[in-house]
């Protein structure tokens, strides 16, 4: 059980080209996650660089979503869930008892599998985060934040005339972009996306993927996906999870052409999954 994790390809600055800029945004060391008695993540260590898209791939139940939810402590909402090990964001241990989980989540935003806009006007959806964090001094500033976020999410042109319509009235793809705008509005540094396109049609998916590529300029993005094509399309780095362990993490192009691990190769070529 406590044996060292075999052979992980930790990314180091000198290795993949995407990492030339240095400094890791999120790091994890020896993370174990348990659901009751069941261990979901086994001794996981990873370093995720800033201003890049990292994709987590792997078969269902491999722990990729579980780990993603550890990064902004969304697992706190599950009573039976227990996390050990160190996870840091910008060098700060996020499981430190002194850390304010609310501030953490403002810094590490999240987009969920199914679009989950609040049943409120579009404007209120985006404005909610800035309001609770006191990011705007007055109404004009709030309006600016809302507009900026919606523009960044590529939704502004479609909704600017109906900001007071309910967010739930948008199409699935629009709803998901609204959720991205909502996440952007609180000025996060990391955005976690848990299979953000799995409930969308191909056209909406393409639109979101484009958006993710644009957002890369400013954010550290971690995306969990079921689709290897999607990982190949949007990410610079790919992590392959299997049975609760991180098998391999490295440059996406390399991973899909010349994986170092047999298991990765088997998965990518469709032997299991």
């Amino acid at each position: 059980m406590n044996a060292p994790v075999p052979h992980q390809t930790l990314v180091t600055p000198e290795k993949p080209k995407a990492l030339a800029s240095g400094q890791f945004k999120v790091t994890a060391r020896d993370v174990d996650v348990y659901y009751g008695d069941k261990q979901a993540i086994k001794s996981l260590s990873i370093d995720i660089p800033d201003r890049s898209v990292s994709a987590f791939i792997g078969p269902s139940g491999c722990g990729k979503s579980t780990f993603l939810r550890c990064i902004n402590r969304m697992n706190d909402t599950i009573p039976a869930c227990r996390v050990t090990g160190d996870i840091t964001v910008d060098g700060n241990d996020i499981y430190d008892p002194n850390i304010d989980v609310v501030q953490l989540r403002a810094k590490v935003g999240m987009v969920f599998q199914k679009p989950n806009p609040f049943p409120k006007p579009i404007y209120e959806n985006v404005a909610y985060g800035p309001r609770i964090h006191g990011l705007a001094r007055d109404k004009t500033e709030l309006d600016q934040i809302v507009e900026k976020s919606l523009r960044k999410a590529g939704l502004w042109e479609e909704v600017k005339d109906r900001l007071q319509n309910p967010g739930t009235g948008l199409s699935g793809g629009q709803q998901q972009r609204l959720c991205i705008a909502r996440a952007i509005a609180v000025n996060p540094e990391v955005i976690l996306m848990d299979e953000p396109c799995s409930a969308l049609d191909p056209i909406a998916t393409a639109r979101i993927e484009e958006l993710i590529d644009e957002l890369r300029q400013n954010y550290c993005i971690v995306i969990v996906t079921h689709s290897m094509q999607q990982a190949a399309r949007v990410s610079q780095l790919t992590a392959f999870f299997h049975l609760g362990t991180l098998v391999e993490y490295g440059d996406t192009d390399e991973m899909f052409t010349a994986p170092q691990e047999k298991r990765t190769q088997d998965y990518i070529t469709g032997r299991f999954g």
Binding site: D100, V102, Q103, I132, H133, G134
Partner: protein, 392 residues
């Protein structure tokens, strides 16, 4: 007077909110940094402190000097100040006003949930305590074994067997009426009725369930009892003007909606796959219901009946108005009987001194009633829970 003090506390809390919020805004402006918590949370925290401090000291003063003492107002101001002023001094940007306030809120929520437990403790405490005092003057053996109930007689007699018999007689009649009616109604609603018909029938049962028991009691006494009496006389039977039958019949009708709605839920919870299995063998609908659905739903139906019995045993107004006061030890449904609830109600209505065995005996009856119904409810709820888990 105390109402004014309460109003004062609310005003103080409002003032504290303004002060806290203003201070936070000023701090934000001066320091030019973002605060840990929104200014309004600084306000909420101070308001909560003022409210709790003011209320606590005001109530303490009211208990010491009486509710109408003007001192309560002074105490409210002092209490609010003691609680809120130290917090006002905490003016650093990273002061976690929101976390602190949320902790206060959580404590309040926990306390509110505790009220339900407190109610139960209150009930147990009040019935047990008074019952123990009652048993100091009347031996428990007399209470349990004597067959004569005459609390106002000379000498008084406190044998509760006739009451138990009366209670069981009325309950038995009620269940005999309500059981088949409720169960058959539920089966018809769940398995046969078209959605349209169901949308008509469901409100009928809901209306019946919503009719206050005092109305049913009036109906039992005014319409049903004379009807039974006249019918009895016409066939040569002697019927008391207040008979167990009248009370039991109407009580049965009261319980029909309870049994039918509980059974309806339970029958609907039986998985369709079980029915499909039966239909696939060529069974008719009624055969499927009788041989598959009902046996599968049986634990739930049993618990529905237990809840219904508990309801009938505890029902007061119908029996007070239609069953009478005569403590007869009889199984004759045409005779007048009295029940535990009737006696509790009649013994405690009107002014009375609290130390006489007569009043205390009502609490002993309450003790019996509470623990009997508690037992039934507890078992029934356990069965339902087990049953739900089975099909979830």
């Amino acid at each position: 007077m105390f109402l004014w003090t309460l109003l004062l506390v609310v005003l103080l809390a409002a003032g504290a909110y303004m002060a806290g919020r203003q201070r936070a805004i000023a701090l934000q402006g001066a320091a030019g940094v973002r605060l840990h918590s929104l200014p309004s949370y600084h306000g909420y925290l101070l308001a909560a402190a003022a409210l709790i401090g003011g209320l606590a000291l005001a109530i303490a003063t009211a208990l010491a000097f009486g509710v109408h003492s003007p001192l309560t107002a002074v105490a409210a101001v002092i209490g609010a100040a003691i609680a809120a002023v130290p917090l006002y001094g905490k003016d650093t940007p990273d002061f976690r006003a929101r976390n602190l306030f949320e902790r206060v809120v959580l404590v309040v929520l926990v306390l509110c949930s505790g009220v339900a437990v407190l109610t139960t403790i209150g009930i147990v405490f009040s019935v047990v305590w008074e019952t123990l005092i009652f048993f100091r003057s009347v031996s428990p053996f007399e209470f349990l074994l004597n067959t004569k109930w005459a609390p106002t007689g000379t000498p008084p007699s406190f044998g509760f067997l006739p009451l138990l018999a009366g209670t069981f007689l009325v309950t038995f009649i009620a269940i005999v009426v309500a059981g088949p009616l409720g169960l058959l109604s539920a089966i018809y609603m769940a398995e046969y009725a078209t959605p349209r018909l169901r949308s008509v029938l469901k409100p009928v049962l809901e209306i019946l369930a919503g009719i206050p028991t005092v109305v049913l009691g009036f109906f039992a006494a005014l319409v049903v009892a004379p009807l039974i009496r006249n019918a009895g006389i016409s066939v040569g039977l002697e019927v008391a003007s207040e008979s167990a039958l009248a009370a039991g019949l109407v009580m049965g009708m009261m319980i029909v909606p309870l049994i039918s709605s509980l059974s309806d839920d339970i029958i609907n919870a039986v998985p369709q796959s079980l029915r499909d299995g039966s239909y696939a063998l060529g069974a008719t609908k009624s055969e499927t219901i009788k041989r598959v659905v009902i046996p599968a739903a049986l634990p739930g139906i049993v618990s529905a009946f237990m809840l219904a019995i508990s309801r009938a045993v505890g029902e007061t107004m119908i029996v007070v108005m239609a069953a009478g006061l005569a403590a007869n030890l009889t199984a004759n449904p045409l005779a007048a009987v009295t029940t535990i609830t009737v006696q509790i109600a009649t013994l405690l209505v009107g002014d009375q001194e609290f130390d006489s065995p007569k009043t205390l005996s009502a609490f002993a009856l309450g003790f019996v009633l509470f623990f009997f119904t508690l037992f039934l409810n507890y078992i029934a709820l356990r069965i339902v829970q087990k049953y739900r888990e089975q099909y979830d």
